[in-house]
């Protein structure tokens, strides 16, 4: 006999006192073991963590956020506000704030509750509950205001320690997360009856269809429907057949365990597929999650509806849950959520739950219907079943500590008067408050919601202009199985047609099912107790009550958006799934207005909490940002270089020898360049080829310098401004030919300079005949600097006369080096005789090594960016971004000489004439020498005249660059100081936080070889 036909007298039924003997979509023959708060329990395949705990009679699954009240599971799905748990596989695989109702059970699962210390049963924070009167809405804003000094030392640390939901993992996440882009004509979100028929209709058109659902199985409400018939078959059979039919379409992608978390412009929808979270031993080849970025022509939202809780006093005790959740636990998971139930009903859902529970053997103590004259198929069936039904009843309160043990049921008159309270014992109290269409994604799409008075709910309104979506089934306000199936098919067909499909058929789904019922009650339920003392919870996750909302209204928070923030209702991970409509109801009551007059709050993505891994995908570690390496990188690595990040580039910062720190290495490298020869990898310099008959004119307009008269074969230091007159970039520009310039930019500025050039060329001066080409990666650059540079270089160069007369400072020539083409610049950023050898990157390493070998005769020394910085600072050369900060004019940094005075216009010229740009009190570039001749100043330090002046001090400027100069034997610094050039020789003070100040003398920014004698190295 095959296993599946063996008599199923499972162990589970014995060990799990609340497990039913049969039924549901669980497999009683596959027991699983798991732990919750360290205690081991059993469950079965198909359980969620919540259903497995309920099978043991465990309702207490969490503590509330503010009052630390004991809380039980309230829902059976993603709307769960209470049962938030942390599931851990190890220190790095720890996920907080998971809803126990969505956590699929696997063998060995380990979960802990949150927001309690030391345990769920005994929580120290529960003391907050006794001081609830002291913790009203806006408590934080009111209480922690004074004294100001307490904020940093007392309030903030305490609040931080007690705030937050769950704890962050302590180790890096070892899992992989993938992302993929997907395109389809029709995306259907939600695979309940409406979503299934929508997908069927769209599938028949032959278009690409994606159907996703957040649950482990597709089917939605059908998964817990044991009574309806569709097309003459039980609902579960129809479901199985429909899924099989959908699977036959090659154009349909079915995605269970996939949540539509965000709806973005132009029908861009984010889905997260949980690939391995439900597995006991995930395959390491699989990603944990996969984010689908779907671009859909049309979207059908078949996201169903959430059941509304009822707002009555003490409605938050463990054992109080939504009626439909109870139906789901019994019918789908084979779990009885209690032994004796009271059902508070404002909707037929309460009757459905009562019938399902009664069939499973749960005693129905009473169905307390708020309505005076209920009717309909649910009511009739319950009466036929002989269940105790009382009408015109409200709940005036509940009792019990860790679990509800009774409900106070009272009569309520049409005038709202309450009398005749009767206490009834129960361990399960269900709330059937009606339904709220799930329109989070609809709202995220910026489409409008409109109030439907008939069903007392917001329903889809006008679709946002840039989106293409429609809702179907309960999400559209069409309740009941009949409506779900028919509106779903219709929406799917319409979506397919809108997306360009044809051949859509019509189908009729004949059902035998419960009548649709839109009855509801919104607002605080009437009761006869002291309204100032009782708490009826509206937002269970954020612990806000009807009393809080009423207080907020009394204090003047009339706008629903303000009241939301003041009371925190509808915020955080829950995003108001269960609380939004009750909140609007209470606020409407308190203001004597209708709900549409109150307005509506905005739903924000994500629909349910989404992992950072999902968004990061592969972009972490080395893949976080592309890494750019030069052709010399590996050589430098071999020499033990220490690298630094400059934009995306890795640059060698210094080359320490045995035992050297950065100071020692830089001092040695500096001396080598000044006394003999250094070699430096300048490949990261940005390069732009500016070519065309109007190239010189274009350069004249883009740069402050004059270019017309620059001879072919000559270079010039160019400075570029933004249109606002501030220095944007700089670099040496060589004229290769009349119509061709080799422009260099800063390492970090290459892309943005080219973008700015293209902007002017394309949009302001399209008449100029010029082409711009990025050449950054076409040329590797080897800088050879020092008195011996020419001697070492000469033997390798062909076709260029390197003699000082033929190839002077600021010359450029094309020729060959080591047999490859080169653009050879004679330039110096060090003040020494220098060459920058541009060669194709493929040949760069060979040329570098040849020069290095030849240079060994003269102790050639590789140097890095740190030495480059020191050497240029000794010469007073600025670095854009270090001496400048986006507010420095050319004059501020001593570059007025570079401006082409005869030019009528260039980018930024007009701005230089604005009054503020010529103010003599502007900050100007100066050199600083520490008076003690020893102290290396802190870069960024503030400069003042008198460090003893009262605060706030008058700050005259700041240090921009500061180094120990090996050549001079003392520290040097560059600074921007108010009217600095007129202060030469003055002594000012540089502030050192915590240590007073350092006296500095203002001097010329050129510290070394002011005459430029070293350039020719004669």
């Amino acid at each position: 006999m095959p296993d599946s036909l063996a008599p199923n007298l499972s162990v589970a039924a014995v060990n799990e006192p609340f497990r039913t003997r049969s039924g549901g979509r669980i497999d009683r023959a596959k027991p699983l073991s798991f732990s919750f708060d360290g205690q081991t329990y059993s469950g079965v395949a198909g359980d969620t963590l919540a259903s497995a705990l309920l099978a043991h009679g465990v309702h207490l699954m969490g503590r509330s956020f503010k009052y630390h009240r004991p809380r039980g599971v309230m829902t059976a799905g993603s709307d769960e506000p209470n049962a938030l748990v942390t599931v851990s596989r190890d220190a790095g695989r720890t996920a907080p704030n998971l809803r126990a109702t969505q956590v699929e059970l696997y063998e060995g699962l380990s979960a802990i509750s949150q927001n309690r210390f030391p345990s769920l049963q005994f929580d120290v924070g529960g003391i907050n509950d006794h001081f609830a009167a002291l913790l009203p809405a806006g408590f934080y804003y009111k209480t922690f205001m004074w004294p100001r000094s307490f904020w940093d030392r007392v309030y903030e640390p305490v609040i931080r320690a007690s705030a937050g939901l769950g704890k962050v993992p302590t180790a890096p996440d070892p899992d992989r997360y993938l992302q993929r882009n997907a395109h389809c004509e029709v995306l259907v979100i939600g695979a309940g009856p409406a979503g299934l028929t929508a997908a069927l209709a769209a599938a028949e058109s032959g278009l690409r269809v994606i159907l996703c659902d957040e649950q482990s199985e597709l089917g939605g409400s059908l998964l817990a429907d044991t009574t309806s018939m569709i097309a003459g078959k039980p609902a579960r059979v129809w479901l199985t057949e429909t899924l099989a039919e959908l699977a036959t379409f090659s154009n349909v992608t079915l995605l269970p365990r996939t949540t539509g978390f965000g709806y973005y412009p132009h029908n861009h929808v984010g889905l997260v597929e949980r690939v391995t979270d439900h597995l006991a031993s995930p395959d390491s080849a699989q990603p944990r999650e996969r984010m689908w970025q779907v671009r859909a022509k049309e979207v059908v939202l078949a996201t169903g509806a959430f059941e509304r809780p009822l707002t009555f006093p003490e409605n938050d005790r463990p054992g109080i849950m939504l009626a439909d959740a109870a139906t789901t636990f019994v019918n789908r998971y084979g779990v009885k959520p209690g032994k004796r139930a009271v059902i508070a009903a404002a909707n037929d859902s309460g009757y459905r739950a009562a019938l399902a529970l009664a069939e499973a053997g749960v005693e129905i103590a009473m169905i307390a219907d708020l309505r005076r004259n209920p009717s309909g198929s649910g009511y009739d069936a319950a009466r036929r079943a002989g269940l105790s039904i009382e009408t015109g009843k409200t709940i005036a309160g509940t009792s019990g500590k860790m679990r509800v043990d009774g409900a106070s049921i009272a009569s309520v008159g049409e005038d709202g008067k309450v009398w005749n309270t009767q206490d009834i014992g129960c361990d399960l109290l269900l709330m059937a408050g009606g339904w709220t269409p799930t329109l989070h994604l609809y709202s995220q799409s910026l489409s409008k919601l409109k109030w439907d008075d008939a069903i007392q709910a917001y329903v889809p309104g006008a679709v946002a202009a840039s989106q293409a979506l429609r809702a179907a089934g309960a999400a559209s306000g069409a309740y009941g199985l009949d409506a779900a199936l028919s509106t779903g098919f219709k929406a799917g067909a319409e979506a397919a047609v809108a997306a360009g499909g044809d051949g859509v058929t019509t189908r009729v789904f004949v059902t035998i099912s419960a009548e649709a019922d839109a009855s509801t009650f919104l607002g605080a339920m009437p009761h006869n107790r002291d309204a100032n003392r009782v708490r009826a919870f509206v937002d269970f996750q954020n612990d806000s009550t009807a009393k809080d909302l009423k207080l907020a209204v009394r204090e003047g928070f009339r706008s629903v958006e303000h009241a939301k923030r003041y009371t925190t209702t509808g915020m955080a991970t829950d995003q108001g799934k269960t609380s939004n409509m009750p909140m609007l109801g209470v606020m409407a009551q308190a203001q004597g207005k209708t709900i549409p007059e109150i307005g509506f709050t905005t739903f924000r993505p994500p629909f349910t909490p989404t992992t950072f891994g999902n968004f990061a995908g592969a972009a972490r570690g080395d893949l976080f940002d592309p890494i750019r390496r030069t052709a010399i990188h590996h050589w430098a690595e071999g020499q033990g270089a220490v690298f630094e990040d400059v934009g995306q580039w890795k640059r060698a910062r210094y080359f320490p020898r045995q035992g050297e720190d950065m100071h020692a290495a830089v001092a040695r490298e500096c001396k080598a360049v000044r006394s003999a020869l250094g070699i430096f990898d300048a490949s990261t310099l940005g390069k732009i080829e500016v070519v065309g008959p109007d190239a010189a004119e274009f350069m004249n307009r883009m740069y402050i310098n004059p270019w017309t008269k620059l001879g072919v074969g000559r270079c010039r230091y160019g400075v570029m401004l933004r249109e606002d007159g501030f220095v944007y970039d700089d670099g040496v520009v060589g004229r290769i030919a009349e119509d061709r310039f080799h422009v260099t930019t800063t390492t970090g500025g290459a892309a943005s300079v080219l973008n700015m050039m293209e902007d002017y060329l394309q949009t302001e001066w399209p008449g100029l005949n010029v082409w711009l080409t990025s050449a950054t990666e076409q040329w590797a650059v080897i800088a050879l600097q020092g008195p011996k540079a020419r001697e070492v270089l000469a033997p390798f160069v062909e076709g260029i006369d390197l003699s000082p007369a033929a190839f002077p400072h600021m010359a450029i020539a094309e020729g060959r080096i080591c047999g490859v083409k080169t653009r050879l610049f004679r330039v110096s950023f060090t003040g020494e005789l220098g060459f920058e050898i541009n060669v194709p990157p493929s040949a760069a390493r060979r040329v570098w090594e040849a020069l290095y070998a030849e240079g060994r005769k003269h102790s050639i020394t590789p140097y890095g960016t740190e030495t480059m910085h020191v050497l240029r600072a000794e010469k007073g050369f600025i670095i854009v971004g270090q001496e400048t900060d986006g507010t420095a004019t050319p004059d501020d940094v001593g570059l007025t000489w570079a401006i082409g005075k005869a030019k009528k216009d260039f980018v930024g010229k007009r701005s230089l004439a604005r009054p503020g740009m010529t103010d003599p009190k502007r900050k100007q570039l100066v050199g600083l020498l520490s008076v003690d001749n020893r102290t290396v100043l802190e870069e960024g330090a503030q400069i003042v005249a008198d460090p003893k002046q009262p605060k706030p001090m008058t700050v005259l400027g700041h240090v921009t660059s500061s180094y120990m100069s090996a050549a001079l034997g003392h520290p040097i610094a560059l600074a921007l100081v108010e009217a600095g050039r007129s202060r030469m020789g003055e002594t000012l003070q540089v502030l050192v936080p915590g240590k007073g100040s350092v006296a500095v003398k203002l001097v010329s920014p050129v510290f070394y070889d002011a005459e430029g004698a070293s350039l020719d190295a004669v």
């Binding site: 946002a464 302001e764 604005r914």
Partner: protein, 92 residues
């Protein structure tokens, strides 16, 4: 993420583009005679429209060309896209 219709390449995802600010702000042919106020207005004054907005985009990871788009900033609906130098369509 928007889908932006490049007038040279067709519709492409926003990732391929770079925003270029408000459109149709021409740099004065000769800035020198402008008053400081006029120049400051050219430099800094932008409409910051809530609603229909003509703006520049550059298809930086495609054809690299600048072009103009008319977009409703409240809905992200793109009403028109046209080449640099062309007039804004009268209908939008």
């Amino acid at each position: 993420m928007l889908i932006i219709p490049c007038p040279h390449c067709g519709p492409r995802p926003e990732l391929e583009f770079r925003y270029g600010g408000q459109a149709h702000i021409a740099r004065p042919v000769d800035p020198s005679p402008l008053s400081d106020e006029e120049w400051a207005s050219f430099l800094y004054s932008r409409d910051n429209e809530r609603g229909i907005h003509a703006e520049r985009w550059r298809h930086i990871h495609g054809c690299a060309r600048f072009f103009n788009v008319v977009r409703d900033t409240t809905t992200d609906q793109i009403l028109a896209s046209y080449k640099t130098g062309e007039f804004r369509p009268e209908a939008v």
